[in-house]
Symmetry: C3
Subunit: 451 residues, 3 copies
């Protein structure tokens, strides 16, 4: 782990997960994903190799999803642009970013001036191939480094794209892990960008390994992982599952851009202050340095759908460097050198820590009226004196707020203490019978006291 990543987060690196995550990102990187088609299916198959229980759903083109319609399936076989002298100045073989996603087929000789509207490049990043899509308007185009574009000689070019847009289906994956309770935590990530590493594959990789870890754990909550094409896939998923999600979801997280070594960040749900928001803020505050917090107004990924009026699901986003906040975003520079094992490991631990704290969170009620005699429970020094009362203070504070209104996370925030310490104190109190999840206190105490 680099010094930067080390200094950026305080959670113990509990396993050498970074290399595994990076390896999985590397495996998925070459596939030419788009909203639909073989790239998405290759990606979901690779995830299923690690999560055999993954359900892969196919939703036919033309299906409705609220206001949207599942588009035709896009297939691309090859594409290139030949300069007047026959040189291939762009070739899909070299980079699947070099063709505008959802380009319709073409094979035509076009003078440079007429070709220009179909070319995309970034003057400010002259060596990068930009990522451009045209999902919902029939069009075609090539993306290339601005340095090459500027050197193109005048003359007639041959533009060739061997693609097809035909009825097919949209694919998405869903992985469900039942827990003790039917209430669910949602992890949502997307699988629709071609060869880009942070803004695409970091999310599925972290989600996959988070699911693998959770599958081996005792779980209080149930977990639902969805791997969907961004926006349309999320809307398809929501349109088919909204009532169930609203009935069961306690917290949800969109994982995106979570594999670089930048500062950790979080984007609020629209509702703000949900359990997902509270735990994300707590983890960032206590486990990372210089975390960044973004409001819902700065949203740009699938939290847009989860928070939409009427959907109103408690979903925030977890990230390292937010989409749009790094220069390499949506270009060929967001590649396997931009994400790192350390960066991915940090992102994984960010998400995992949130999950662990949600699991550990509980609403307790003190079982005694008045402070218990802590010394009887091994929770208090038996010899008094000047500083003795300080020693059991955290335990007493957790107890003092175990009032059936403040959950452990709220208590941790009230005490400005790390959740882990509060959870440990609560475990000791629970073990001693001094707090309970049921409100049995009054009866017990009052019965004792009345002769």
């Amino acid at each position: 782990m680099s010094d930067k990543a080390k200094s950026g987060a305080q959670w113990a690196c509990r396993e050498d997960i970074g290399e595994a995550l990076y390896g999985f990102v590397s495996t998925l990187f070459p596939y030419c994903r788009s909203l639909t088609g073989s790239g998405v299916r290759q990606t979901l198959s690779a995830i299923r190799a690690l999560l055999p229980e993954l359900d892969i759903h196919e939703v036919p083109s033309g299906s409705k999803a609220f206001d949207w319609t599942v588009p035709e399936e896009w297939t691309i076989r090859s594409a290139w642009l030949e300069s007047p002298d026959g040189t291939r100045v762009v070739d899909f073989e070299d980079s699947n970013l070099s063709v505008v996603s959802y380009s319709e087929p073409i094979d035509a000789i076009i003078p440079l001036a007429e070709l220009q509207p179909h070319l995309h490049s970034l003057p400010q990043l002259p060596d990068a191939v930009p990522y451009v899509t045209s999902y919902y308007k029939r069009s075609w185009g090539f993306c290339m480094p601005d340095r090459i574009r500027r050197g193109l000689p005048e003359g007639d070019y041959r533009a060739f794209i061997d693609s097809s847009l035909k009825p097919g289906s949209l694919s998405y994956g869903e992985f469900y892990l039942p827990g003790e309770r039917p209430e669910e935590v949602l992890i949502s990530t997307y699988v629709c960008h071609p060869s880009m590493a942070n803004n695409e594959l970091s999310g599925p990789a972290v989600a996959t390994y988070l699911a693998r870890w959770l599958a081996t754990e005792k779980r209080k909550f149930s977990y639902r992982f969805v791997f969907v094409p961004e926006t349309i896939g999320t809307l398809v998923y929501l349109s088919r599952n909204l009532d169930a999600l609203k009935a069961r979801m306690v917290a949800g997280f969109v994982l995106t851009c979570i594999g670089d070594e930048g500062d950790y960040s979080y984007l609020s749900s629209r509702a703000e202050g949900t359990l997902a928001d509270r735990v994300a803020r707590h983890v960032l505050r206590h486990h990372t340095d210089q975390p960044k917090t973004y409001s819902y107004l700065e949203r740009g990924s699938d939290e847009r759908q989860y928070g939409f009026p009427g959907i109103d699901l408690p979903v925030c986003s977890l990230m390292r460097t937010k989409y749009g906040e790094y220069l390499e975003y949506h270009t060929s520079l967001d590649d396997l050198s931009f994400v790192t094992p350390a960066g991915l490991s940090g992102g994984y631990h960010l998400a995992r820590q949130c999950v662990e704290y949600i699991e550990a969170n509980e609403l307790y009620v003190a079982t005694t009226l008045g402070e218990p005699q802590l010394s009887r429970y091994g929770l208090y020094p038996t010899t008094g004196g000047r500083k003795a009362s300080d020693e059991a203070r955290l335990t007493l504070n957790v107890l003092a707020y175990a009032d059936g209104r403040n959950d452990l996370l709220a208590i941790a925030d009230r005490l400005q203490q790390p959740m882990a310490d509060v959870v440990a104190a609560a475990a000791a109190l629970k073990n001693a019978g001094l707090i309970d999840t049921r409100g049995s206190r009054t009866t017990r105490n009052r019965d004792e006291l009345r002769p």
Copy 2:
């Protein structure tokens, strides 16, 4: 418009209203207004010349208004003070401020020393005639520049006031403009000060021209303009209309001191945070420089009555320089040189902007579940890419908060955007069928989705 006024507000000067307002103030200026009497009636008649539908009410002396009683009507014909050598050192002919309002009649020879308690002047403004009243205690007095007072020789003066206090009536004007809805916006201003320009005539002038403009507009809300003697007139009006006002008023504004070129200002309603407060604060924040905000504790005009416990109407005050905050206040220096066409025009536009935003305000609900496919509605660029998502952001943000809880003004404040832009975005969304004032969304979407 002067540079100061120009720099002070950003609304477009949509018409050359300043000169008209100033002309009307000049017309009204000479009348000797008081709580009752011919000056008030002359003023209301002049207003009715511009608002023919103005109802003028006469309320007999002795009528009860909550805790108050309509006083006798005061008539003054002439008044002067003669020095020992027969010079008229004060003459009502020269300034109607020179007699204490509601002075009882007198004709007596009085040595200077005994006269002094009946003289009023301002040492700190030696050339100004102060404005003094004695409505509810029988008394008499003269007001004069301190410079003259200091030069008065010893000796016997003749004090002459030809006035009468007799049963009569209190006059007030009311102008009602029905709109599509019975809910009302109140504009309240006062007509009881003699020849002073900002602290009196700026309010009636702006209110009159606001009513003239509104009469030509399509109105969602109904509007009620009241031109009343301050305090007693307002209480008379409230005591006769309280239940109806409470049932129908959505927002109200007291217009006072709204014609000088000082910074724009606002004084909160007692309840704070009403629609009137929200729109006034929004307009000040987005349309003026260095606006001033006053709390209800700094009140001094008719918002005192509108906010009183049990009245509890949502009324705030709109001003340029607040009463009491300028040196010329309540003196002869608050004259036709203190208000200006530019100052009055700015005040008019302040009030009009508040009205326009109240008219434009609406509570919308998104009609889709999940974001709509904006490109289908001409609301989103069809070609994606790095910055494409920024372009429709305002529209998307307005939509994202169209949840049936946040009205457009709340959304504008949430987004820290000018209401005008939010209204424009909402209009486009409404036009596209993506938001609606009725909550028909769920049904529409869910029906579509269930086969």
Copy 3:
């Protein structure tokens, strides 16, 4: 009164109470108090000499108090530690702090090395005898100045403690003063520390003299004073009176460490914002310089029990220098030189001012709709003019918030005015019939107005 105490509080020193308080502290100082036993009873007897109606309760050892059990009664007759040469290096005769409270009896010859775990001293305060207890674990020990301990020669020591732990009872005192209303204010303080002045006797002394003063006053509220051993005594008291306390208590105060000359301080109730908290904060803000405010997280005295979940009584603590915040705390240096007449007088006035404001507090409703005509009530100058409206502003502001929701204390805080001024204004308004505790307003006014 010292300069420091003078500068620290602005209330008038209404009586020469400081000397009386100091005298009473001096009387109580020598008694060897502990959780139980003769020292507590001597203290309660001395209090009863000043408050003849004091009820002294005896609760048998073994009685249950929620999670606790009343311990056996501790009696100590003598104790000393002899060095190898027969010198008494510690003697209970010299200081009742020199034996660990609740020490079991011992008479044994012990080499120094084995004795060390039974010795307590403070290296950082080499001349102080620390205060140490072992209430709930059988043990014994001596406390001594660290300077003496370090000089102890090697060799065999004779440790002698003539004490007994036998079934007996826990003693507490309760003093009730009925008022016009059954609703109660609680004053709680503790009587279980041996010879220490600020952290023990300042509280009972101030409480006793507060009760004596209140007994001579007309009281709106009833008052309950409890003098209890800290923690166990409070729990005993609560366990026997909880339902009645919850039904009747409007505010409560723990008095502790309230006799030194340090800055005034306050520790919040767990609920925060109760009447007790509001009045304490108001008094500190308006009557003291540099007051200190502590959160419930910094609690350490009986507010721990009063605020515990399920107890939930509105009790905060009043102090001068908070326990644990002064070096002398819990040592022999917290003696009769640490508290002073001036310090005790200040603490007394702090508590008394809180009580006076609670007595003066009331929830009023304006009896008029709209402002009354103040001049009719002698509450407003009858001659108007530039500054006339300023003069009755406080009265008008109190009236303007007399809306049946804001009590006088809330109004004082809203106006940022001292409660005393607000109370005076309210008294004038009440006297004039302009506010009332009953909501008779609407009927009166509306009947007047309808012909």
